[in-house]
Symmetry: C2
Subunit: 256 residues, 2 copies
């Protein structure tokens, strides 16, 4: 049975999409069947694989509006064993979806329970906000990974996120667990990075994953080529750190 992991942060630009795409590909390279689900209306998971608007049949938007079946929304990628569900096939105004989720946060349960049996991991890329979409994602997930940038603003926005997760756990999904906080864009030459890393380990302790993702221009460049870094430049620092992250999560799983 597949594990559903939400990649969550209400702080923008911290590496949620980059983590979803590269961790997903790394788990596939390790032999697992992986589905990426894009819950961010920006639709950048599909962009990372160079799906244009006309290549997409339908997405999570159409799936929840009951205009499509789960198997219609699944699209194959260039990597065998890695598939994705985009946010939607068109430029959608997401308000109707938000409204539907606002009324019934369990709306994801049925489509996802069908998908769970076909994959080992389902990674959900969340939008940069604490709203209905992220709430519904946490409601259906087994666990969460929180990318956190090694910068000052990231430290101060932690309180809101921790409270949000506590609320979901209490009201909707008592089994929700942290897989951990993933420190991203680390530049160990800078004092700021070292200071933030220390504060995070002090505040969050064991919740901080051992693997940290370095700031690495290759991770920002590879979306130009439409493939994850672990496929195009396996030896880059960025790719290696995501392969390492996949290993850490697989080892962690063995003990949980």
């Amino acid at each position: 049975m597949g594990e559903i992991i939400s990649i969550v942060s209400h702080k923008g630009g911290v590496g949620k999409t980059t983590t979803t795409v590269n961790l997903g590909a790394s788990l596939t390279l390790a032999g697992y069947r992986v589905l990426l689900v894009d819950l961010d209306p920006q639709g950048q998971v599909a962009t990372s694989f160079h799906f244009g608007q006309y290549d997409l049949k339908c997405g999570i938007f159409e799936l929840l509006a009951e205009q499509a079946a789960p198997e219609d929304a699944v699209h194959a990628t260039s990597l065998e064993g890695l598939e994705l569900i985009p946010f939607s096939a068109g430029l959608q105004d997401e308000s109707p979806l938000r409204e539907a989720l606002g009324k019934d946060a369990h709306i994801f349960n049925t489509p996802f329970s069908k998908l769970k049996s076909a994959y080992d991991f389902i990674l959900i890329d969340c939008p940069p906000s604490i709203g209905e979409l992220t709430y519904a994602s946490l409601t259906v997930s087994n666990s969460i990974i929180v990318p956190i940038q090694c910068e000052y603003y990231a430290l101060n926005s932690l309180g809101r996120l921790l409270k949000f997760v506590r609320d979901v756990k209490k009201n909707m999904n008592p089994n929700l667990k942290y897989r951990g906080f993933l420190v991203t864009m680390v530049d160990l030459r800078s004092n700021l990075s070292r200071l933030v890393m220390n504060r995070l380990r002090y505040t969050l302790g064991r919740l901080v994953l051992d693997t940290a993702i370095p700031r690495n221009i290759r991770l920002a460049e590879v979306p130009l080529y439409g493939k994850p870094a672990v496929l195009i430049d396996k030896n880059s620092k960025g790719a290696k750190s995501y392969i390492e992250l996949a290993q850490e999560l697989l080892n962690q799983h063995g003990t949980s």
Copy 2:
């Protein structure tokens, strides 16, 4: 009469808050009275000036819930002539505010018309989403600045934003103008930055501001000290570029 400028982007982490704080301070140093308004529930404009939760009396949240008058929500900063209205005094769940804005997007008009007469510029820091908060902000604004990161994902998310601004202009605020697109985190040593810059100038033409903000670690570090870069390290590349941006906008204004 003051000009209200929204700092807008639904893409996260592109430098909206950094631009609000440093452009605001640069305009104040040039002799103008400036108000910063934080419409992002993350509340990072106040964090940039090291306001703790207990230093804030009330914010835009309380102002719109009619629990406070505009002058109560205004807080002085360490720079004479630069003031701010935080998002709120507590850790607020922003749903009631979003609901109120969803019903009446003109809700900002009254408080802001009082504030307009007391300042030359009012800069509104928007959250990373296309939702009720950003919609209401554009409805009350004279103009907008769109920070856009010099990276691949930024290019592809442009279409949604341009459409959103067109909709607001058509339905709510026909006088809304672009002050321009501000390219941020530029690293001219990287091919990616040069490629994205060229594509942006090709797609947006004159809408792209001449001033570009370089990637500069000082801009990320100064929030640690609770003051804008233009106050702490005037000679840093980051601070100089924001001072240059203020000049470009002031010269632009003379001709508009």
